[in-house]
């Protein structure tokens, strides 16, 4: 008997439209870490993030992902944490949106204040991406990572490409 074959929610591809680029990517293992009340654990040698914070250590990141919840991305958590740990690796579809117009594209889909002064590189937010709930990471002034429910990956991709097309059309004028 051969092992089951894995398949991504959408093809891991890059789409360039105008001055924005959308890439579906696999972030590797993703674990939700939800500390029990009164605990602020150190996770894989990283301090538990404050709301909106992204803590980075090498290729591993600890991303604030909701009330008393963080996503550990890129590694499995160390043993013995006083926290509820859940494998979320298969629960989300991840996209990277970058380029000069990435902010303009995202402003078509989320009510978040995307000004660097309000949403700085190295921070995260839970916010709607059109009608989907999403985890949004700002990795640079012109780059974001977006995670939506895996089953909604096609809708997310379609809506992002649509927004990119509209923003590019404005650029062309």
């Amino acid at each position: 008997m051969t092992d089951l074959v894995a398949e991504h929610a959408v093809a891991l591809r890059t789409t360039d439209i105008g001055r924005a680029s959308l890439t579906a990517f696999d972030p590797g293992p993703v674990f939700s870490i939800a500390p029990y009340p009164g605990v602020r654990p150190v996770v894989n040698a990283m301090p538990f993030p404050t709301p909106g914070q992204i803590v980075t250590q090498g290729a591993v990141r600890l991303v604030w992902a909701g009330r008393e919840q963080a996503f550990l991305i890129g590694a499995a958590p160390d043993e013995g944490l006083s926290a509820a740990i859940t494998d979320q690796s298969d629960g989300w579809a991840w996209f990277r949106l970058q380029g000069e117009d990435a902010t303009a594209v995202l402003a078509r889909l989320t009510p978040l204040d995307l000004r660097v002064s309000a949403f700085a590189p190295g921070t995260s937010a839970r916010a709607p991406l059109n009608h989907m709930q999403a985890v949004i990471l700002r990795t640079a002034a012109d780059a974001f990572e977006l995670a939506v429910f895996r089953s909604m990956a096609q809708t997310a991709q379609h809506e992002l490409v649509e927004a990119m097309t509209r923003v590019a059309a404005r650029r062309a004028r």
Binding site: M1, L4, A6, P37, Q88, G91, S151
Partner: protein, 973 residues
Amino acid sequence: MTQSHRIPGRGLIDRSQPLNFTFDGVMYQGYQGDTLASALLANGVRLMGRSFKYHRPRGVLTAGSEEPNALVEVFENGQHTPNTRATMAELYGGMVARSQNRWPSLGLDVMAVNDLLSPFFSAGFYYKTFMWPRAFWEKLYEPAIRRAAGLGRLDRRHDEAAYEKAFAHCDLLVIGAGPTGLMAAMAAAQAGADVILADEGSALGGRILADQPEIGDMPGLTWLETMRTDLAAMPNVRIMTRTTVTGAYDDGTFGALERVGLHLADPGDLPRECFWRIHARRAILAAGALERPIAHRDNDRPGVMLASGLRAYVSRWGVNPGKVVLFSNNDSGLATARALTGMGIDVSYVDPRPIPVTEEFPVYAEARVIATQGRKGLKSVDIQHRGGTSRVEARTLALSGGWNPSVHLACHLNGRPQWDETIAAFVPRSDMVPGMIVAGAARGTFSTGACLQDGLEAAQASLTALGIRKKPRLGVPVAEAAPYRIAPVWAVEGDGRAWLDFANDVTVKDVKLSAQEGFQSVEHMKRYTTQGMAPDQGKSSNVAALAVLADATGQGIAATGTTTYRPPFVPVSIAAMGAGGRGTGFAPQRFLTSDAQSRAMGAPMIEAGLWYRPSYFPRAGEKDWRDAAEREAVMVRGAVGVCDVSTLGKIDVQGKDAGRFLDFLYTNTMSTLPVGKVRYGLMLREDGFVMDDGTCARLGPDHFLVTTTTAAAGQVMRHMDFVQQAFCADCDVRTISVTEGWAQFAIAGPKAREVLATLGDAPDLPFMGCAPMTVAGIAGRLFRISFSGEQGYEVAVPTRYGKDLFARLVTAAESLEGCAYGMEALNILRVEKGFITHAEIHGRTTADDVGLGKMVSAKKDCIGKAASQRPGLSEDRQQLVGLMPVNQGETLSAGAHLYNERDPATRVHDQGYVTSVAPSPTLGTWLGLGFVVNGRARHGEVIRLDDGLRKRQVLVEIVDPVFFDPEGGRMRD
């Protein structure tokens, strides 16, 4: 003759770019920079539309978004847009526009007979005339009135064009880019604030473009260009032209409509419009003011326009208006007469005030216009003056009854403006919208110099409020600062009809009649006469109409007050507000990992909780859903079936208090569940009714996995979050959805174990057991649960492996004379077993109603328990029963109601209703589940099913809801 009425060399149009367009099938030429209105005027076309009620010939009144008359239909790229204001439609090559509300043509409109019958159509006419007989209103009167009156027509097709919505954030939103707004934006930007400068025009400048005053010792246009260039170069400034801020909402949120591609012959991928939601910490309303006409006899002929509109058409678009009579009661009108004269226009000036007559043009002081002539275009004007009455030839009559500050946005949170006697206008009070300062002409400060000063001061106040200490560098440039003097004249006395509201055909007489008939409040007058209820929302007529009302009632204008100002400031297409929401854009689509294979197998998909699930998997020779679904159900009972159940909600619950937490959520006890076991559970809402049902598996001492129904997954997750935060904050418990993380498949039937064996060594589970399982090399989970009544398993793997696992399961099942089964078969199987879904737990049923009263534990409390014991929730309830037709061949239908055999099908005789039905291949009859008053005590009774929609009456026997294998031996063994 092309552009016969264009003044050579004048205007801000690009003569190097001529543009051809058609209006009512006639080809004309205009220039880049024209609006449809200015281009038509330049071609000598004054007649642009027919009025709403009387079909009076009308021309353009204004040069802005407040236009009440020149509404046309525009055709572009298969798109047909009625009620487009010709003043806002920027000309492009190949534009096709058509007049509306006329038949057969604009010049000859047979419905103009309404005009001759006008004595019958005065205010309140419909209310008085079409009262009786009542039934005639809907069938006869209203359709006839709608045909005769009304504006453009929809083409009844879906609007499939591209629209966009977007969000923006800023420190300061400046609404309007005239002198005030430009100064405010520049000052705030220099101090470092993030500024959005929005203006509904195609270019910045506001009245500078039309009035072209001197600013800072240079031509206004030069100053404007410097400001524009400097603002555009600042990284903290976003300039949004063609953008009308349409509404002010709570907490600094504004709606704004941007015309994105409407002005282009080939918009490419550009959306037609974009609806913005702008959040601003502070706002400055610098929307300027709107000029108002003066009501006098026949003041609505093509060729009559506002003085400000005329000035714009001449100076900005180089339109030659011919001989002009300008009737004004204020200094702004006089200034316009001077400016027009300076541009070589032949002007006669009429003013009711005793002004000096020392101008370069004829001045009729202490005079008024009392009538006009020319049905399809103005020919002459009658002026009553000290010396008598003169008839003066004129091609254009310009009116200026003063200016109304554009206070609309400031009033959107229900603040009321106050009357300012000195300028005879309503002005805003302070802080009507928190965080918003009204500046410039929008608060009644009319001179250019005062506006520039006001803009700077508003910016300074906003910067202080924002906590920005840096000071702007710019000073206030020198500009005209003449005082504004006005002697209010709302309506000239006399015979005939004097128009107040051009868009809805309301006259001075109508308003007086309203007062006379007792509709004396301004809100009543509005509704009685329909004044202010057209697409222009009475922008040019509201103040004059209430002034006439105030005069008729003797209450005075300040006491009369205004009607309520509501968003939107201009008409907003629903398509823009709901951009992207048509069809599948309405909500996200959720796809299963088995989706592609199900579709390849020919399965029709149905939506369930945004998911797409297969209804059935048709095979050759099966003629409809029932053939396929019954075959699938038979195969499950006889061999094996597989079904994707990943859509069911899955919630991971962890913590040492998880058991205690779940005991409080579920009616039954979960803390006693052994590790490796699964228990069916029921949750109530706080009001005591059933919220959801599902299974709860204990994966470890402090680790549970809760499943929910597909549709209630989000609701249960939210409920858990609420209960945890509100009632169990001290519990060591954490919850998170894992619905998306696992692909889960049901394997059901006597051969289920054989299918399972193809995936590896399966743990030997008892009924309601669970354990980890390595599924074809992948760490997964196995549950022995059943929603079919057969020996059943559910196998779960991480979602990425779902597609492959489903393929293998289908192959394995088919090799054992089994199949994949869809929602229809699933429904048959569960109805045969009397298992409930949300058709039964629909929000109005209690645990006892569905026969699960014993599941509400007496030993502990739970959410909803107290409320479920309320009086009224126990006696004479409608209880879940099974229903079988007395004559076996008859069809049952869900939604039907149940009556005692001889009772009529009326509400008082209602005994209950049918929630679910299915054709049972196992029992050879249709089966139903439903609720009947005291149903559990009535098993064996015959009752009538009455489906009024399908005209179906069937005698059914009330039976136990579990039709098949009531002992449950098949799923346990």
